[in-house]
Symmetry: C2
Subunit: 476 residues, 2 copies
C-alpha cells in the first residue's frame, strides 16, 4: 500500500515548497497548489542572511519614507478623530503614536499610525498593484517592537517578508480584485501585517498558516470610500487585523489550512481571477519591495513631471520668481483634465492646479504638504508667478513626461525635458531626496534633533539592538 | 430653472425615506435607491413606542438565549485563547466578560463575548439567511451599556434595530452572497452592531450613514473557516468593527454616503445579486427579529426531531431506561448520513450519533452541552440504552419530522410522531424551555443566584433603569 496516498496533498506540498508545482493533470482541472502552506513555510523558514543587500537597503528606504508620512499625517483631522474616538479605550501605555505624545496599547497604536501614515496619500506605492505596502505592515510591527524587544535586523526582515506576502497576494488577483471595488491596500495588507507580526512572534508553520487564514477572514476596504477619511482607516485597520491574527495564532487559535486558496477562501471569494504562481513561485529569489516607489511630491502623480522639471530648472539656474517672464508647459492630456484649476483658493485645490504646482516648485524648490497648504497657495509671489504659467496638451508627451520652457525677462529661454519623472522605479528618489521629504513632513511637528535622530535610526535600522528607540524618536 | 435638479438624488430620497421609490426609467437602467441614507434615516428616527409588543417580547427572548450561550461558551478553548491572547492589551476595566471574571475595555469585551456566544453554535438563527443575529449586535451594545448608562428600553430598542439592519441587508443578498463563500453572520453583523451602537450613541443622520459605510468597509468572515475556531471569531470581530464604526462616526470621521449601494459599495462588491427593496421597503412595519429562532438542543438540527420526540415520550410516560426493551426510529435520510455514529466515544462524537442523542434524551430529558460531554457519552445507563436504539430511513419523513416507537419490557408500545420539531418559527421554544436551556448552559459556571437574577433581568429588560446590572449578573 502506498502510504503517501494517506499523507495528503498538504504534507507533500510542504516538502516541495520552494519548487514550482508540477501539475499532473491539465491546468484547468488541477486543484490549486497548497498556497497558504507554501507561503507560510517560506515565511517561517526565511533567514535575513538570505536577503540580498539591495533588498535590505530598499527596506530602510521604505521605512524612512513611511515614518515620515506617519509623522506628517499625525495632525490631520482624520488622525485627530481616531485618537479622540479611541482614547477612552486605550490599554496600558505600550507604543508610540508617531508625531504625537499619546501612548496607547499596541493595537490602537497600529490602527492610528496606519491612518496617520496614509492620510496624506504620500506613502509608498507598489506600482504594479497600487498597494501601499508599508502602512499595514510597519504600523503593526513598529508597535510590537515597543511591546517586546525586537532587534533592527529582525524588524527589517519581518518588514521585507510582510511586504512580500501582501504584494505577492496582490499580484495574484490584480487587477480583477481591484476592479471589483476592493481597496487592495486593506485587503492584502492584513496578510502583510499578519506575516510580519507572525515572523516576529516566531510562529511555527501551523501557526503561520492559521495567522494567514485569520487574516483572510478580515479583509478591509472598499474603493467607494476613496475621497473620505475611511480610505486612510483601511491600512490602519488592516494592521490591527493582521496583528490580531498573529497573536491569536501564537496561542493556537485554529483556522483553515487553506485560507487563501480554498473554494470559499480569500482568492476565490474576493476575486474573479487568480494566479497562484504569483504567490508560490520564486519565493526567496525575488523581492517585491524592490518594486516599491516613493512619491516625491504631495499631489497626484500626473503633475509630478512638471514639478520635477521646475525644481531642476530652479536649482540648475538659481532661478527666482522675479526673473521670470513666462513658463510654458507641454503636458500629457490627463494633466489638464485632472489638474487644470487656474486659480486655486485652498491647499487642497492647489493639488489640482498644475499652475500652482509649477510656480511653487520654482519659488520654493519643493512640493511637499507645505507647498499645498492654504498659506502657500495664497502666497503673493506664488500667485503672481502662477498667472505666468500656460499649459498646452501635447499628444506626444507621455504620462511621466513634460516639456518646460521658462522665458526670462532678459530674453533667455531655459528648456527642460523630463523623460521619466522622479519617483518611478526607473528614476527613484535619491536617499537625499527621501531625507528632504522626511524633513519637510516632520518639521513643525518634531523638534529638529528628533528629526535628525529618526532619520539616522531609519538608515541604520539593521544595526539597531532594539527598535524601540526609533519609535520613541519619531514620537513626542 | 428647476432647482430640484440641483438638490441631488440624496436629498430628495431623504424626504421620501418611508415611501417605495418610484422608478422613472426601466428597472434595469434605474440607479439604485439611496439605500444607505434610507436605512440610516429610519434608524435615527425610530422610536421604541412604535415597536409592537410581540417584537419587544421576541427581543427579550433573543437576549435571554444569547446571554445563556455566551455564558455557556465562556470556558470553551476558543474563548480561553481569545482572553489569553488579548489580555495584555486590555484597556481599563469597562465591561464584563459573560461567565468570567476579567473586565476588559468595551472593544475587547465585544470581541470575546461575541466569540463565546457563538462557539457552541447554539445561538439564535434567522432561518431565511442563516444569520446568527444577536452575536454581533448584543456583544457590541452590552459592552457599551457598561461604559455609559443605557436604559433597558433603549437597549432593547437598539438591539431590535441592529437585528433589523443586519437581517434586511442579509435578505437583500441571500443566497448569492452566502453561496459565494461569505460567512453572512460576520459580513452583515458589522452593520447590525454599527446600527445598534450608533442608535445608543444618538448619531444624527449623516453620522449614521457614515457608521453604516464604515461598517461596509469591514466585512468579516469566510465559510472556509467553518469547523475551526475562526468561525466563532467572526461575530466577535463584527461586533468590534461595528462598535468602531459607530464611535468613529460619532466624531464625524467621514465615509461614503452610499456604502451599501454604490458601484464599489458593499452589496455590489460582496454579492452577485441584490434586492434593495429588502432593505428599504416596509421599514418600521415589519420586524426581522420575529423570524428569529433558538436551538433547543446543542447539536445539528437533523436530530432535533428525535430528541424532541424522546423528551416528550419520557415526560408524558415518566419513562426510565430500565423499562425499555427497544427504541425504533423512522428518520429522514440525512439523519443517518450525518449522525449515524453507533458507538461515540467523546462528547463531540455524541453530537454525530442519533443513537446517543435518543438515549440521552430519554435518560436525562435534555440535550444541552452537558448531554454532549465526554462524561455523559460514556455514562453506563446511556451507553446501555443507546445499544437498544435502531434507526431506519423512511423517505416519507421530512427533515423536521420523526416517528418513534418505544417498546417496553412489559410489552407496551409507546408511539410518538413529531411533525415540526421544537425550535422552528412554526413551533418555537417556549419561554420555559428557553429558561431551561439558559440554566443548562449557565450551571457550573455561574452560581445559582446569578442564574436566577440574570434570567429575571433578561425578561424584564424593558423595565430596567440601567442595563449594567444585567451584564454584571451574567459575569463572575
Amino acid at each position: 500500500m502506498d502510504r503517501r496516498k494517506f499523507i495528503g496533498a498538504s504534507a507533500l506540498a510542504g516538502s516541495i515548497a520552494f519548487a514550482a508545482p508540477v501539475p499532473e493533470k491539465p491546468a484547468a482541472q488541477a486543484p490549486p497548489p497548497d498556497v497558504t502552506r507554501i507561503l507560510a513555510k517560506y515565511l517561517v523558514a526565511a533567514e535575513l542572511k538570505d536577503i540580498p543587500d539591495p533588498v535590505r537597503k530598499e527596506g530602510a528606504r521604505t521605512l524612512l519614507n513611511w515614518v515620515g508620512c506617519a509623522i506628517g499625517g499625525s495632525r490631520n483631522e482624520a488622525t485627530e478623530i481616531a485618537v479622540s474616538a479611541m482614547h477612552p479605550f486605550f490599554g496600558s501605555e505600550q507604543a508610540s503614536l508617531l508625531g504625537r505624545k499619546e501612548r496607547p496599547d499596541i493595537f490602537n497604536a497600529a490602527l492610528i499610525n496606519g491612518i496617520s501614515s496614509h492620510v496624506l496619500d504620500f506613502d509608498d506605492t507598489h506600482l504594479r498593484t497600487i498597494i501601499h505596502p508599508a502602512g499595514p505592515v510597519v504600523s503593526a510591527i513598529l508597535a510590537m517592537a515597543e511591546y517586546q524587544p525586537v532587534s533592527g535586523a529582525d524588524f527589517l526582515h519581518a518588514m521585507i517578508l510582510g511586504v512580500e506576502a501582501e504584494c505577492r497576494i496582490g499580484n495574484a488577483v490584480y487587477p480583477a480584485h481591484y476592479d471589483a471595488g476592493w481597496h487592495i491596500t486593506g485587503t492584502t495588507g492584513v496578510f502583510g501585517a499578519a506575516a510580519a507580526a507572525g515572523k516576529l512572534l516566531a510562529l511555527n508553520e501551523q501557526q503561520m498558516i492559521w495567522a494567514l487564514s485569520l487574516a483572510a477572514a478580515q479583509p478591509v476596504g472598499l474603493r467607494e470610500m476613496f475621497g473620505t477619511m475611511t480610505k486612510s482607516f483601511h491600512p490602519g485597520r488592516a494592521a490591527q487585523n493582521g496583528l490580531t491574527a498573529a497573536f491569536f495564532a501564537l496561542q493556537n487559535f485554529s483556522s483553515s489550512d487553506h485560507g487563501i486558496e480554498a473554494k470559499s477562501g480569500w482568492a476565490n471569494v474576493l476575486s474573479t481571477t487568480r494566479d497562484y504562481k504569483e504567490i508560490t513561485d520564486h519565493l526567496g529569489d525575488s523581492f517585491e519591495i524592490l518594486q516599491n516607489t516613493y512619491k516625491p511630491f504631495a499631489c497626484g502623480i500626473v503633475i509630478h513631471p512638471t514639478i520635477d522639471g521646475c525644481i531642476q530648472l530652479r536649482n540648475e539656474n538659481h532661478l527666482t520668481a522675479d526673473q521670470i517672464d513666462r513658463i510654458d508647459l507641454k503636458v500629457h492630456p490627463l494633466v489638464l483634465e485632472l489638474t487644470g484649476k487656474k486659480t486655486p483658493q485652498t491647499g487642497l485645490e492647489g493639488k489640482f492646479s498644475v499652475y500652482h504646482a509649477a510656480a511653487a516648485a520654482i519659488v520654493e524648490g519643493a512640493a511637499g504638504e507645505r507647498q499645498f497648504s492654504n498659506g502657500t497657495v495664497n502666497n503673493g509671489t506664488i500667485v503672481a508667478l502662477r498667472s505666468k504659467v500656460t499649459a498646452v496638451v501635447d499628444p506626444s508627451i507621455n504620462e511621466d513626461q513634460v516639456r518646460i520652457t521658462v522665458t526670462l525677462k532678459d530674453g533667455r529661454k531655459l528648456e527642460k525635458y523630463v523623460g521619466h519623472a522622479v519617483g518611478s522605479v526607473t528614476n527613484p528618489m535619491s536617499d537625499k531626496a527621501l531625507e528632504a521629504k522626511f524633513s519637510g513632513l516632520a518639521e513643525g511637528i518634531l523638534p529638529s534633533e528628533k528629526i535628525r535622530s529618526t532619520v539616522e535610526l531609519c538608515w541604520n535600522i539593521e544595526m539597531l539592538a532594539a527598535v524601540e528607540p526609533l519609535a520613541r524618536s519619531a514620537a513626542l
